[in-house]
């Protein structure tokens, strides 16, 4: 597939998402929505002793929002809540366009979304799952960790 429209990584996560399924043992879930696009993603996490032991998502959306969710879960499963929060902050920094190369490295495959900022209408899509994660990790959120 030589002329993929999006980055190979993004295309792949969209076509073959690893984490697009229910999560029976989830300790918390939250639905995030981009109502104007119709995108809707529900994020499910199993958090034990401050560590994100497992995670998954359900819902529909464009390639950017789906891939972003899948990549995010790849990145945060196995990390502590603290680490996940830090990664979320880094992701926002990247989208805002002021990330250093060292920081970018920490984001691993999520770096594939770096150029989404050139399509302003799509930034919301890229952020959807991360916003939803932030909400779940807020200390005082309903249904939170």
């Amino acid at each position: 597939m030589p002329d993929n429209f999006y980055d190979e990584v993004l295309i792949d996560h969209n076509l073959h998402p690893q984490h697009l399924h229910g999560l029976p043992g989830a300790t918390c879930s939250h639905a995030g929505m981009n109502p104007s696009c119709g995108d809707e993603i529900t994020l499910h996490l199993t958090v034990q002793d401050g560590v994100i032991a497992d995670g998954a998502f359900t819902g529909v959306g464009c390639a950017v929002s789906q891939a972003s969710a899948d990549i995010m879960l790849d990145l945060i499963i196995g990390r502590t809540v603290e680490e996940a929060r830090a990664l979320t902050a880094l992701f926002r920094k990247m989208i805002a366009g002021d990330i250093t190369p060292e920081e970018l490295e920490q984001l691993e495959e999520a770096g594939a979304l770096q150029n989404i900022a050139r399509m302003p209408a799509r930034v919301k899509c890229a952020l959807l799952s991360w916003r939803t994660l932030e909400h779940l990790l807020e200390p005082d959120a309903e249904n939170a960790v």
Partner: protein, 405 residues
């Protein structure tokens, strides 16, 4: 097909490679319109209506001549029936706020076609909330067809208003408005027609259709943004209370209240948009100079070309069906496995402007069971090459999203 009209539109000189297929959202403007508005500001700009000097008389004439041009364009009986608004949305809100709140009560019903644009749906939701009237929906089949039987069955003795677009911005199908109007009137129901997508593209005659109200926007018919029209039958407008209150819509004001001006000024509060009206007048002149014969012939041919090509591409679903005659310049579609936002992004990368989302018709999308769609919509300034480029990109969409073919 006759000569391309692209040269009349400066934006295509600016972006010669752009393929603009979002005319249902807003149309491009011919030089004649841009120049007419500019000329007004150079040669006749003043506050009209109360003018006691030469320039103000010019401005008044410019404004009222525009109104007369609109009257003639839609075949209204009197210029009093033509109210200038900002856009179709405001026109529809005006009906709901003024007519609706004065005439409806908790026992009444409002019937709205399920395919309506939010602008012809949310004002009725608001009206139902405010008056306690019941809001009901008339449902269409997957081709966007409403039958006369279904309409008859949905009308009750309490139905005060039936709201429907002559052409839906999702299906592109022309509804039999005259027939619907007759059925409504037999039932004592008023018909509000949303002409936003029809008035720019087919001849519309309000007396032949016998609609009670017609709303449309200038910007979709090659006029500037910020000017729209509400047509209403004189007897209805006459008895309606004002909507916006302020300068220029009164005869006399005291501390306690006011006497309102005659039609149509009663509904035009504050300083009016003469520049916009002049632009709309020029747009009507331009449409007339091209002629609906050419416009329709060209748009129908391009629509047919698009639909015929599209239905040969695998994994494409056209909303409203594969019959080219059912789509007047509007083809809404889905590509299996690809989200409409990704479709639009791919088209954009190829310099083709199409729209993706719910097209301000979420309840219709819920009714059809698709969360969102992509849409191409055209005007007579498009040409076969535009359609060819569109089809070529459409063929690549799935491949570029990583599908095998």
């Amino acid at each position: 097909m006759s000569l391309s009209r692209k040269n009349d539109f400066p934006v295509f000189a600016q972006f010669p490679d752009m393929v603009y297929l979002d005319s249902a959202a807003t149309a491009q403007k011919p030089a004649a319109v841009i120049e007419a508005e500019a000329a007004y500001y150079r040669e006749a700009n003043a506050n009209p209506l109360r003018g006691l000097y030469d320039l103000s008389v010019r401005a008044t004439d410019a404004y009222e001549n525009a109104r007369e041009a609109v009257r003639g364009f839609i075949g209204a009986a009197s210029a009093k029936e033509i109210v200038f608004t900002r856009n179709a949305t405001e026109s529809l809100n005006l009906i709901a706020y003024s007519f609706g709140r004065a005439e409806l009560c908790a026992n009444d019903e409002i019937l709205v076609a399920i395919s309506e644009h939010h602008s012809n749906m949310l004002p009725w939701q608001m009206l139902a909330r405010e008056t306690g009237a019941r809001l009901r929906y008339l449902e269409c089949d997957s081709s966007g067809i409403y039958t006369e039987e279904a309409l008859r069955a949905a009308l009750t003795p309490h139905t005060k208003i039936f709201a429907i677009a002559q052409i839906s911005n999702v299906f592109g199908r022309i509804q039999p408005i005259a027939e619907f109007a007759e059925i409504c009137h037999e039932n004592g129901t008023l018909i509000v027609c949303d002409g936003a997508q029809s008035v720019p593209h087919i001849p519309v005659d309000v007396q032949a259709l016998n609609v009670d109200f017609l709303a449309f926007s200038g910007h979709k018919m090659f006029a500037p943004m910020g000017i729209g029209v509400l047509y209403g039958k004189e007897a209805l407008l006459q008895k309606m209370p004002p909507f916006l209150y302020g300068g220029e819509m009164i005869e006399y004001v005291t501390r306690e209240g006011a006497e309102y001006a005659e039609l149509p000024h009663k509904f035009e509060a504050g300083t009016v948009n003469v520049g916009g009206a002049v632009g709309l007048h020029a747009a009507i002149g331009y449409i007339r100079s091209v002629g609906f014969a050419e416009i329709m012939q060209r748009e129908d041919a391009l629509t047919a070309l698009s639909v015929e090509q599209m239905r040969r591409i695998p994994h494409i679903q056209i909303i409203g069906g594969d019959d080219p005659a059912a789509h007047h310049g509007i083809v809404t579609f889905a590509v299996e496995g690809v989200h409409p936002h990704d479709i639009a992004a791919i088209f954009d990368a190829d310099g083709i402007a199409v729209r993706a989302g719910h097209h301000c018709a979420q309840p219709l999308h819920q009714h059809l069971g698709v969360p969102s769609t992509a849409r191409m919509s055209l005007a007579f300034y498009n040409d076969e090459q535009d359609i060819e480029k569109f089809v070529n990109t459409l063929k690549t969409v799935r491949r570029r999203m990583g599908f095998a073919g």
